[in-house]
């Protein structure tokens, strides 16, 4: 069990109220709060260990290199991956683009197809559409069921002709909260086409559920530091080193080359080949501290906390008048993001009223416009949970929604 009261004290931002009220942060799915240990690690780098990496031979530079590579190693350990497969990027979006440019554009040809789903975040969708357009590839999308799960039967049909050579799927939906059976999906894609590459967007999974990439058996996995309690400006593509070996560099310049003559260059080893220029050093160090923080809590304990709390939020929201919750019914099938709509009140107005009461939720289409169309909504309200949330966060949410309903109620049309 997590000691939430003690944990809350670890997050400096949570100490600041809004207009005399406690800050109720229900938006970790957009960006998690940063614990003190992460700030301390970054402060030590800037305050006492500042230098570039992979260059100087003096002790300060060696320490900076060790800190940067330590961040990579920590992330690899956290996800059960080989550090040689961890490319540090700016965020998950860049990680998805790296696969799209380095692999899809390089290796897929007209006649090949890409499998995706209707619930992808734009980050795991647009780079592949763009690649499909450039290379003349066909796009196929796995539909969802009524309760917001991938329709695996439909997926099986979509891959049956053996032309799907690349699949991009999210591990956990940022809107519906659905935890997708990615291992099963990867298996069915490869059953139809053994050499198909399966890329997974883990931005919403890695912060909330234990992830063991060796067991998931996918080819590449994108994460973003700021949702993992780490700093902004860092993310990673965590891939099989062999996939990286076959990929074209996406950004070129310093750091990523082994040798340069005026006639040409030879590329550095993976993963450095994909990290052109001075990398985000403090951010890598901060990310290492962040995953260490989550490991110390234990990802099983984090998941258990969110399952228990999520069930309380789900039933509290379902029981309140006028609220429709989207996505799977049961916490067993879902992560910590809960999207809902409130009858007669636009999500923007809900968000403004809640914000005024110190309750932070996300409103809008959550960068998932195709999914919004599937849901028949233009926008939703999303409350998302993390380690610092507890049952006492539900009441302010429900009270704020009730206040918004009272404020924006339109007169009933008399019959």
């Amino acid at each position: 069990m997590l000691d939430v009261a003690a944990l809350r004290r670890e997050f400096p931002t949570l100490q600041h109220g809004v207009g005399g009220r406690r800050l109720v942060y229900l938006d970790a799915a957009a960006s998690a709060q940063t614990p003190r240990v992460v700030l301390d690690a970054m402060e030590r780098y800037y305050g006492a260990g500042r230098s570039n990496v992979h260059r100087g031979v003096y002790p300060l530079a060696e320490a900076a290199t060790a800190g940067y590579e330590g961040g990579r190693a920590a992330l690899a350990r956290f996800l059960g991956a080989d550090p040689r497969g961890v490319v540090l990027t700016k965020n998950a979006t860049e990680a998805c683009n790296l696969v799209a440019y380095g692999h899809v554009r390089r290796h897929l040809r007209p006649g090949d197809a890409i499998l995706s789903t209707v619930m992808e975040h734009h980050a795991n969708m647009v780079p592949f559409w763009h690649a499909a357009e450039a290379n003349g590839l066909e796009l196929r999308h796995v539909p969802i069921t009524e309760d917001g799960r991938l329709d695996l039967g439909a997926a099986r049909e979509l891959v049956a002709d053996g032309r799907v050579r690349f699949a991009a799927v999210t591990h956990v939906s940022n809107v519906l909260g659905t935890i997708n059976p990615v291992a099963e999906l990867a298996a069915l894609v490869r059953a139809a086409r053994p050499d198909a590459v399966v890329h997974v967007d883990g931005a919403q999974a890695a912060p909330h559920i234990p992830v063991d990439l060796a067991a998931l058996d996918v080819d590449s996995y994108a994460v973003t530091g700021h949702k993992l309690c780490g700093p902004t400006g860092i993310g990673a593509l965590v891939a099989r080193p062999e996939l990286l070996e076959g990929m074209e560099p996406f950004l070129t310049g310093g750091e990523m080359i082994r040798d340069v003559t005026l006639e040409g260059a030879t590329w550095n080893d993976v993963p450095h080949r994909f990290e052109a220029g001075t990398p985000p050093i403090a951010e890598a160090i901060g990310l290492g501290a962040a995953v260490g923080f989550l490991e110390d809590l234990g990802m099983d304990a984090v998941r258990a906390h969110e399952v228990e709390l999520g069930a309380v939020f789900l039933s509290g929201l379902r029981d309140a008048p006028g609220i429709e919750v989207h996505g799977p019914e049961d916490m067993a099938d879902r992560g910590a993001a809960i999207s809902f709509t409130v009858e007669g009140v636009h999500p923007h107005d809900i968000g403004a009223v809640l914000g005024d009461r110190g309750v932070c939720v996300r409103v809008g289409h959550h960068c998932c416009k195709p999914l919004m169309r599937e849901l028949g909504a233009t926008a939703t309200v999303r409350a998302s949970l993390h380690v610092h949330n507890d049952v006492d966060d539900l009441e302010p949410l429900l009270e704020g929604i009730a206040a918004a309903r009272a404020m924006f109620a339109r007169p009933a049309v008399s019959a």
Partner: protein, 162 residues
Amino acid sequence: MSELEQLYQELILDHYRSPRNRAPGLRGEDAHVHHSNPLCGDEMDLRVRIRDGRLDGVAFDGEGCSISQASASAMTEAVTGRPVEDVLGLVEEFRRMMHGEDPARDDDLSDALAFRGVARFPVRVKCALLGWMALRDAIETFQRGAGTHAVTHDDGGDDDDR
């Protein structure tokens, strides 16, 4: 008044709860535009009827937050019956007000003046502007001799860079 009460004044809520000139059609329409604001998911259909150089009728319909709906409602009352050039001037007046400038035509803006406080909520400015930008586009669509036009706003809402 709290910040929130300033944003949601009673006059604004009244336009939201009982919108004026909100209808799915307009008899004798001369131009019809569809505007959307992908950031919020707001959608608006706006229709105008122009007779002898005057805005003879305007109707809006769609889905959006209270600010976008109420602003469009207040706008329809302020602009109906005016010469179209005057309407375009008033649109510009409202747009400037949303950028924090003091309006010169308080009386002409009428209820739309209540949206002045929205300027302090940058994310909501585009909501308040949606109807006004649609109206400007509808008049210009008519002036070009076209009947329909669809626009997606993905910037701050005022499409200065059309």
